[in-house]
Symmetry: C2
Subunit: 200 residues, 2 copies
Amino acid sequence: MAAAIDFYFDFSSPYGYLAATKIEALAAKHGRCVNWRPMLLGAAMKVTGGLPLPQIPLKGDYARRDFVRSARFHGAPFRVPSSFPISTVPAVRAFYWAQAKDPVKSISLAKALYKAYFADDADISRVEEVIRVATDVGFNSEEVAAGIGDQAVKDKTKAEVDAAIGKGVFGSPFIIIDGEPFWGIDRFDQIEKWLATGGW
Amino acid sequence: MAAAIDFYFDFSSPYGYLAATKIEALAAKHGRCVNWRPMLLGAAMKVTGGLPLPQIPLKGDYARRDFVRSARFHGAPFRVPSSFPISTVPAVRAFYWAQAKDPVKSISLAKALYKAYFADDADISRVEEVIRVATDVGFNSEEVAAGIGDQAVKDKTKAEVDAAIGKGVFGSPFIIIDGEPFWGIDRFDQIEKWLATGGW
């Protein structure tokens, strides 16, 4: 069995959301599993000096248009959230708590959080919304709430984010396959070829 | 006849170079002509606050790797130039001078300048190199030299760069089709669909 693909993403990233709708089918087609690794772009931006797209003159206007068009292109339900971008710390903590408890269901949680934010305009920066989404995929609400507040989960989250940046992750989605990094939903064509050929 | 596609690019942009190897075939397939519009990314970066990729932590390392891999993916000869990025003011001026003199041959000049820089490691920030490349595609060296220094050509260059920024161009390549903007060689899949369907 070939090594799993590392899939890094930020829950506030539209392109990460689009990637999340496609990564598993792509990986499975080539006999690969996917490690879902939510991170915090804000932490990476402290290293790169980057800004959230909407804040950048010219690029922000383009990005807003490209989000919508790209979602249509990839066939994913999407609307620009009322509040964008947002802090996703509670969502990431909930994910890593869930991963320790039930790895398979944690992937359902990641997808549900993305759908809640980008398709249903739920404000997943709010702990209550994260708990609601987690409950919908079958977790116990009190356990999730406790998990989000647990110091060990906070430490795990920080360690994961630091490790991502240590591997050079600065954007979302960011996929690493056998050490080879790919940034962006728009590198899925290269990822496909890489998986099929083992590099070129 | 449908309207021409506007193809904006910077001569120091690897992704612009890759796009330049593909844009005409793509446009022709859909009955479109291409307006080649070299611009100066440095001027756009004054508006966006952006930096050249190599100067950005994490992103710069990734970009250098992605340039090489993307060139292989797209089948274009490429090496990271010894000096990168560079000022391309003489190249852009030579192009707009050439465009006024011989529009068809000016496109050959654009392609030859890109090839000189990204395949042959010629330093096209130097006026003498630009003149050499222009001579190779059939222009008269003394006329090119005079053109690059001509105030009217300088004014035309500035007007084109300002107009590009006015249209929201902040990256390279940047393609506008019937008012719809597309940024990046990695939007060619969307461009292809847009040209085929008239939007979606």
